[in-house]
Symmetry: C2
Amino acid sequence: MRRSATTSLGYALLGILLHKPSSGYEVRKIFSETPMGSFSDSPGAIYPALARLEERKLVRGSVDRGPGLRERKILRLTAAGRRDLRGWLTAPIERADVVSRMGELMLRFSFLDEGAGPAATLQFLQSLAAELQAYLPSVRAYFKNHAHEMPMSARLALASGVMGYEARLRWVKHAVSEYRKA
Amino acid sequence: MRRSATTSLGYALLGILLHKPSSGYEVRKIFSETPMGSFSDSPGAIYPALARLEERKLVRGSVDRGPGLRERKILRLTAAGRRDLRGWLTAPIERADVVSRMGELMLRFSFLDEGAGPAATLQFLQSLAAELQAYLPSVRAYFKNHAHEMPMSARLALASGVMGYEARLRWVKHAVSEYRKA
DNA sequence: AGTATCATGTAAGAGGTTACATGATTTT
DNA sequence: AAAATCATGTAACCTCTTACATGATACT
């Protein structure tokens, strides 16, 4: 019974706080006002998640009383927080990540530069390209073998999935070349 | 305190069972062996979910004892189940669906033909195209205004999101034309 | 005889959703 | 004075994850 690991939301918070130490309220605004991440901006999700990070000493809070505002708690990463984030960012990419956690992979990628540096970012992209290339044939094969027996909307939905993986792979290659330039 | 509605997993199960009445075990295999849906195939998720559907009388089970196999419980939709599924399938598409529940929209789409017929499917696609077209400018604007202040990996991740919406829109238009042919 | 597959569940714990609660400060 | 926004939280409920439990049948 290993003690529970940091969740996806936890890492999203760590990534945001690494970029810029913020209050819970500011993080909520990021979730509600920017297109990045599909996390809930509800206080019932965010404040308990921040409290867990604090309990585990991954972030530390300091009270800030700006000019004429209600006081707010600014959270920033500890050394342990940076380590935990970095561990998540640089974890090996597996088939299961590509199949059912692509959103989390993109979240990781968006933090990679700041959290682990350009070498790790490039490594991530190459590894992602490899996994996509390995996975794509099996989806294409599934499509080929089953498309004819599916209702039209199901077939089109599956085709959309295949196209999504292909588009992602093209994007990865584009990102690699952008990265090499810099 | 309204009694809790059917979940995404619940609707995935209803859609699968409408297509073909099945046992919990068969459904698990669908989740583990086909690229469709990113649902867990764990018994701890599926059996309780099926039990909830049965409690609510959306599905009914009948014991099947095939030739020389352990007996299994085949579940099929009731009239109430077909109604509930149809209500979900034909619900209006909102901004929030496009922003953070695209996976659920595609799941809905894949069941639409069988669950609500071709007219509803076409209506769904047109409505999705409209929402995408309305949403895209705001993401593009966000990208234009914030890309320069973001780390490279974050910028590339956001660009990937924009490209994803654009690709999805092209796919919707393609799907509409496929549908009109039939 | 032993391992793999078929088949259905339960229990404990963690985390998210929805709704409620509270109060300070700023804008109209 | 009222409404909006800033700001932080809690409580009840529900669902999912992980792990365990059980037993039948098929394959080697």
